[in-house]
Each structure stands twice: as C-alpha cells, then as structure tokens.
C-alpha cells in the first residue's frame, strides 16, 4: 500500500492505494498519527485507490476515527469501492466511517 498526503488548508487528505491488511495497517497508523499531530481541522481518508481491505484494515480505519475524535479533529473516509465498499458495508461500519448516504459530498455530485 502507498499513501499520498495532501495538505489543503484546514483539510489533510490521505490517499490510500493498494491493499490495507495486517501488513500495511502500521503504515496507515503512522501516517494518521503524523497527520493528526499537525492538527488539521479535518482528516479525510480517500479510499478510492484501495483495492483490498479486510477486518484488520477496518480495525485501523475505526481506530483512526477514534483517535481523531479524541483529538477533536473531524474525520471522514470516503469513496470506497468494489470489495472495499462491500467489506465496509457488510460489517456495518460504512456509515460510521463514510457518513450517511448523501453526506459523502465529493461523490454525491459526480462519478464515484
């Protein structure tokens, strides 16, 4: 997995590419810690380039959300697709991570 970080004013965006699992979860946690340490207003985790996410990936996504909440920083995952969308949905964490349907602003208007 590779992570590209984009700092855009108050929003820090982590764009994930590849596969999030037991092996790559640490890299994600490090990047989340670093991003939150810089205290943006919002942390957005872009899942569009993620091709795989199992339950250990879901665990680190939920942990990131928790850590952000404790630091008072808004958190949002967005644009999961394919098997990642399916895994988040069937485990019931999709809305928690991505928000209610319609609140995923950047997908609402255009292509997902």
């Amino acid at each position: 997995m590779r992570i590209v970080r984009l700092d855009d004013g108050e929003v820090t965006r982590l764009m994930l590419r590849g596969e999030l699992d037991l092996d790559t979860g640490d890299l994600f946690e490090e990047q989340v810690a670093a991003a939150l340490g810089d205290r943006p207003e919002e942390l957005v985790v872009d899942l569009h380039g993620l091709t795989f996410c199992d339950s250990s990936g879901i665990d680190v996504l939920l942990a990131a959300r928790e850590t952000a909440a404790r630091a008072g920083i808004a958190f949002r995952a967005h644009r999961p697709r394919g098997i990642v969308l399916r895994s988040l949905t069937v485990t019931g964490v999709h809305d928690l991570l991505v928000g209610e349907p319609g609140s995923d602003r950047e997908t609402a208007g255009g292509r997902a």
Binding site: L22, S55, D59
Partner: protein, 131 residues
C-alpha cells in the same frame, strides 16, 4: 473440471495474508473461476483465515483449497486447538468472522493434527469473468 486441490504451507508473518491471497486468487483463476467480484470476496475470506492464524493460532499454518465442480472450500490449519468464536465487534476487532459469514456460504472447524483447521465454503461463483 471435477475435483481439484491445492495445498500451501504459509510461514507465519505479517506478509502471510497478502501472500496467501495472491496465491489463492492465482490458483482459483487458473481453475476457471474468473469472476472478479467473487475472487475479491475469496481473497477477503483467505485474508481473514490467515490473519487469524497469525494472530491467534500458532505453529505452522497450512492452507488448503478444493474445488468440487462449482463448490469451493478453503481451509486454514494452525497449531492451536483453540476454536474461533464470533465475538461482539469492538475497537480492537471482532469483525473477521462476521466478514467471512457475510461473504461466504458457511464455516466450520475441525480438529487437525493436534491443532485445528477452519474450513469455509465459498459462495457459488457466478459464471463469466465480468463483475
């Protein structure tokens, strides 16, 4: 195709789930299972089984695949005799078996060489390679 099998020893490390996923999808693709969504779901199941073996199991891990016509069973054996149990999900996990139950047909546990193996029957593979 009538009955096909594959077996694979998996060293216990953090790269094991990814290696097992790649091997299994290559094998299943070679056996004619080409539906992309179905292969993705199979990869999740394999990843959960191997991740659990790495985290909670012990000893050597062996992965087994068998296809009887359309029926595909994947199993992962580890050296621990502790039986996995679905638990309430929390901040530390507990979603692996839930994910297997959601994506596959059924799962079961057998004693195996002093440890156990967890067998999962995958959902039937839709025909065709499109998703």
């Amino acid at each position: 195709m009538s009955e096909l099998t594959a077996h694979l020893d998996v060293p216990l490390d953090r790269g094991a789930p990814a290696a097992a996923r790649r091997a299994v999808t290559a094998v299943l693709g070679g056996w004619g299972f080409r539906n992309a969504d179905w292969l993705d779901a199979a990869a999740v199941v394999v990843s959960e089984l191997v991740t659990n073996a790495v985290r909670h199991g012990g000893g050597c891990v062996a992965l087994h695949l068998e296809a009887h016509d359309e029926r595909v069973i994947v199993s992962v054996a580890d050296g621990s005799s502790v039986v996995p149990r679905r638990r309430d999900p929390d901040g530390d996990g507990g979603r692996g078996i839930a994910l297997i139950e959601a994506l596959a047909e059924s799962w079961t546990v057998e004693n195996y060489r002093g440890g156990k193996r967890v067998l999962v029957e995958l959902a039937p593979c839709p025909r065709g390679s499109a998703s």
